[in-house]
Amino acid sequence: MALEIGDSAPDFELKSHHEGKAIKLSDFRGKKNVLIAFYPLAFTAVCSAQIPSYEADLSRFEDHDTQVLAISVDSVPSHSAWAKSLGGITYDLLSDFEPKGAVAKEYGVYREGAGISERALFVIDKEGKVVYKEVHEISKQPDNEVIFDVLRKL
């Protein structure tokens, strides 16, 4: 069932490209808002523009007390190699690798048959509620300013 605004965000624990460190969504509960950016695949064109765009805007996310977590079905080594090719990504790229796409499925944004997730954004507030959800056209890069509008009102 699709996750909707107002729902509690399902907790997850996934491995980061930073040495495979385990990251739990609930670690941020009561501390930070979280932008969860599901993206289809590492090393692809639009993702390679979208993911660095969060890095470039990271200080603005921090100004809004917000942690960025990007999630795809790629493996940790693949994420690590990609992050290096992007000049370094300091926030966490998380691997929804095994069981494949389990978190994307729980959030209702897994593309069955294609084996990838949608290009989907969720903003989770400090109480762990979904306050924003948008599934984007897969070929289009989302506009970060839309997210800042949401964060400004939290």
Partner: protein, 240 residues
């Protein structure tokens, strides 16, 4: 540290007449003089340097180093992305007052966006501000996504220094997200054809003239104005 949201669009009104204004070009399309080192396309992170292009240069002595768009047309006629000859024609017509002593070319594709936004873009703006005496800057992109975003970052930095700018974009969706102070979209023009096709000097001049004219039409900052150019589309249909 305060950071300007992109939703806030910097805007410098052009106070002087076009016919008394000095115009410079800034392009993200990887243009440089043939006697200058090319951009480093071996590094997939991109190249954050830029080249100052002398206004006296013959357009035949300009070239493109960029590997993220098809620049075959620019190889044939550099004016499709760097309209130096149409600018000279507008000067001869008395439409503008002067051409800046130098222009800027850089390769707008980079994965080092933070450095591009925080270092290269302000450096280009400073160069334009201090070295060119430009009153107006016309900007063009290269590749469809990243170039058409970084060029707006450069445009906004220039505008914040009190110099009026106008972007000619052929990737309006990408440019729009970065909020250009002023922009013209020649409807249907493909990537690598910001000014039209090679050897279409009248069309190139018309597009450039329309872009510069936006400085006196005061569109809403951040808005991209779409214009139709049948001469471009007619040739497209013939080629199909």
């Amino acid at each position: 540290m305060f950071r300007l949201a992109r939703k806030c669009v910097p805007f410098t009104p052009l106070d002087r007449e076009l016919a008394k204004s000095t115009v410079a070009i800034v392009t993200a399309a990887g243009v440089h003089q043939k006697n200058q080192p090319g951009f480093n396309i071996a590094d997939e992170l991109g190249d954050l340097t830029f080249r100052a292009i002398n206004n006296e240069v013959n357009s035949a002595n300009l070239m493109v180093t960029h590997h993220h768009y098809d620049h075959t047309d620019a190889d044939q006629d550099i004016n499709v992305v760097f309209p130096i000859d149409p600018l000279r024609q507008l000067l001869a017509d008395g439409f503008i007052g002067e051409i800046a002593a130098e222009h800027i070319g850089y390769m707008g594709y980079t994965m080092q966006l933070k450095k591009m936004y925080e270092e290269t873009a302000p450096q280009i703006a400073e160069y334009i501000d201090k070295k060119t005496r430009a009153d107006i800057v016309v900007l063009t992109g290269g590749c469809p996504e990243v170039c058409h975003r970084t060029i707006v970052a450069v445009q906004r930095e220039i505008e914040m220094r009190g110099i009026a700018t106008v972007l000619i974009t052929v990737s309006p969706e990408a440019s729009r997200q970065m909020r250009p102070p002023r922009a013209l979209y020649p409807n249907g023009f493909k990537i690598g054809n910001a000014l039209g096709r090679p050897l279409q000097p009248n069309l190139q001049k018309q597009v450039l003239r329309d872009a510069i004219s936006l400085l006196k039409e005061a569109p809403r900052p951040g808005e991209i104005i779409t214009r139709e150019y049948p001469a471009y589309l007619q040739i497209s249909q013939l080629q199909e």
